[in-house]
């Protein structure tokens, strides 16, 4: 075998992909090359996705599902082709199981409203975890308030792993749904999704996976997971904002009442009543985000080309390096599990320097990170911190960028080092 082949199999070169992302060539504050480490908030988009958006609007745009003319047919074909790409990407059995939503939040709210209102009674239990994003807490709190159901939470260990031994006590006959993030958006913790789903099914509960931080970064197979619902966001996986997907098992979706009422979701409408349409249109009232859905299909094509296993391996390397580099900076504390137990998300705090100030000072070096509670206030309360700095990676990030982060953190300590006092 020529040596080059083994090398290309073993090593992953992000430079092969960076050229597809126009924004990664930007400079910040005049002369600082952009180091984009805010991918858990939203990723960037390659040309192929941007071109898909322009191509649809320039050549194939009309409303879907109602036109006879050629453009309507074009738009229809592309919108439904995107659905098929999502189905194949997630390993779902049928197109009817793929609902286009506005994002992960939209998907979880749909389940909480439609499945939750129909199936929960006073005293029933909803099991969540302590590491959830607000989008997987608040809809269930609202559901609990409407139905009298009780919220329970899988606790975390001090290093940010789910305490699965607590399931014995937390799961029972009253548990009706278990909803959890496959990957924590703050700690990067990878939940043992398959095991949690199996345990939920053992007590007759359904399981919802918040896939916002997992689907873009690791292979997802809903059939293998056997989850009942899975929600994801397009903009965290190279796609546009405003588009997401809810996967649901067909028999569950079919039994649920519709969510929003309006056009497209009906079979028949009379002046005083209606009958709902078939899946998946039943849950897609109104004109859907047509162009974003088609562009999400282009994003999935791109990700399939890169390969989810390769993405996960590369991000693991970045995470390991980040732990090494940050571990050398005095006063830095990394929150969450060891690199081998987490995805490409590294949240940390620094002694004496607030997270917002860290982010502000890193921005001066062209490094984009996020600071705050990352929409997970209960998680931060659990660890007794009000804000953390979060560096989150995607496959286009390089080891050099991780090194730059470490160097910049070393430098910014100088800003806050003891100074001669000025007279006040």
């Amino acid at each position: 075998m020529p040596p080059g082949i083994l090398r290309s199999v073993m090593s992953f070169d992000p430079e092969n992909y960076r050229k597809d992302f126009p924004i990664l060539g930007r400079v910040i504050h005049g002369d600082r090359p952009l180091v984009y480490l805010d991918n858990a908030a939203s990723t960037q988009r390659p040309r192929q996705v941007l071109e898909s958006i322009v191509d649809t609007y320039e050549n194939h745009y009309a409303n879907v599902h109602r036109g006879i003319h050629q453009l309507a047919q074009d738009a229809d074909d592309r919108y439904e082709a995107a659905r098929e790409k999502v189905r194949a990407f997630l390993g779902a059995a049928a197109l009817e199981e793929i609902i286009f939503t506005s994002g992960t939040t939209g998907g979880i709210n749909l389940v909480a409203r439609c499945w939750g209102d129909a199936n929960l009674r006073e005293g029933d239990e909803i099991l969540l975890t302590e590491m959830e994003h607000h989008s997987n807490l608040v809809p269930w709190q609202q559901l609990a308030a409407r139905t009298g159901a009780v919220l329970r939470h899988i606790p975390l260990t001090d290093d940010g792993r789910l305490q699965l031994d607590a399931l014995e006590e937390l799961l029972g006959k009253k548990t009706k749904i278990v909803a959890f993030a496959a990957v924590s958006n703050v700690l990067g913790t990878i939940a043992p999704a398959k095991e949690i789903i199996r345990r939920a099914h053992e007590v007759g509960a359904v399981a919802l996976v918040d896939g916002a931080q997992s689907v873009p970064h690791q292979k997802t197979d809903v059939a293998e997971l056997d989850c009942d619902f899975l929600a994801l966001s397009g903009h965290k996986m190279l796609g546009p904002t405003g588009i997401g997907v809810l996967y649901g098992k067909r028999e569950l979706l079919a039994a649920m009442p519709p969510f929003l009422g309006g056009g497209s979701m009906i079979k028949e409408v009379h002046l005083d009543h209606f009958s709902p349409g078939e899946l998946p249109g039943k849950f897609e009232a109104g004109t859907p985000p047509i162009v974003p859905a088609i562009a999400l299909g282009a994003a999935i094509d791109y990700l399939a080309g890169v390969g989810l296993e390769a993405i996960q391996r590369h991000e693991r390397q970045l995470t390991i390096r980040a732990h090494e580099v940050l571990g050398r900076v005095a006063g830095v504390r990394i929150w969450g599990p060891a690199p081998e137990r987490k995805a490409g998300i590294v949240s940390f705090t620094m002694d004496r320097i607030h997270a917002h100030d860290v982010a502000q000072l890193l921005d001066r070096q062209g490094i984009a990170v996020r600071a705050g509670h990352h929409c997970a206030m209960p998680l931060h309360a659990r660890f007794g911190v009000s804000a953390t700095v979060r560096a989150s990676f995607y496959f286009y990030n390089t080891l050099e960028e991780v090194e730059k982060l470490g160097e910049a953190l070393e430098q910014l300590k100088d800003v806050f080092r003891p100074r001669k006092k000025v007279a006040k």
Partner: protein, 136 residues
């Protein structure tokens, strides 16, 4: 880099952050208010002792947050300690940004204005006298 005076992490601001003016509890406080910036989690609590004529005899603050939010609170407390509440009422958001000094992007102006908002509310927020809330 920012021009001198516009620099965010200048010594004057860092001094207020690291050695704040009147950070702590106000003895015999008569007015108190606390608020937070929900998006970033910065928290400021102001405690005031206001006399019969509307003079703020003492102002103290407590809080948690970034350098801007905490330094701004220290500057504000230092400015108004011992002054009349009418001066607070006249003190606008623009005045507060000017007092802080360094130029701030709109997102971080919110950090600076948190303590200003809390002080504006605190002068109208008497400490509940025990029992009064229970009547009627």
């Amino acid at each position: 880099m920012a021009a001198p005076g516009e620099e965010l992490y200048q010594d004057r601001i860092l001094d207020h952050y690291e050695e704040p003016y009147h950070r702590g509890d106000c003895p015999d406080c008569t007015h108190v208010h606390k608020d937070a910036n929900p998006l970033c989690g910065d928290v400021i609590r102001m405690e005031l002792r206001i006399d019969d004529r509307g003079t703020m005899k003492e102002i103290y603050f407590k809080g948690d947050g970034c350098c801007i939010s905490q330094a701004a609170a220290s500057m504000l407390v230092e400015k108004f300690d011992g002054r009349h509440i009418d001066e607070v009422k006249k003190f606008t958001a623009e005045d507060m940004l000017e007092l802080f000094g360094a130029r701030l992007t709109p997102n971080r102006q919110k950090c600076c204005l948190l303590s200003w908002r809390v002080l504006q509310a605190a002068i109208f927020s008497p400490v509940e006298v025990k029992g009064i809330g229970d009547r009627g």
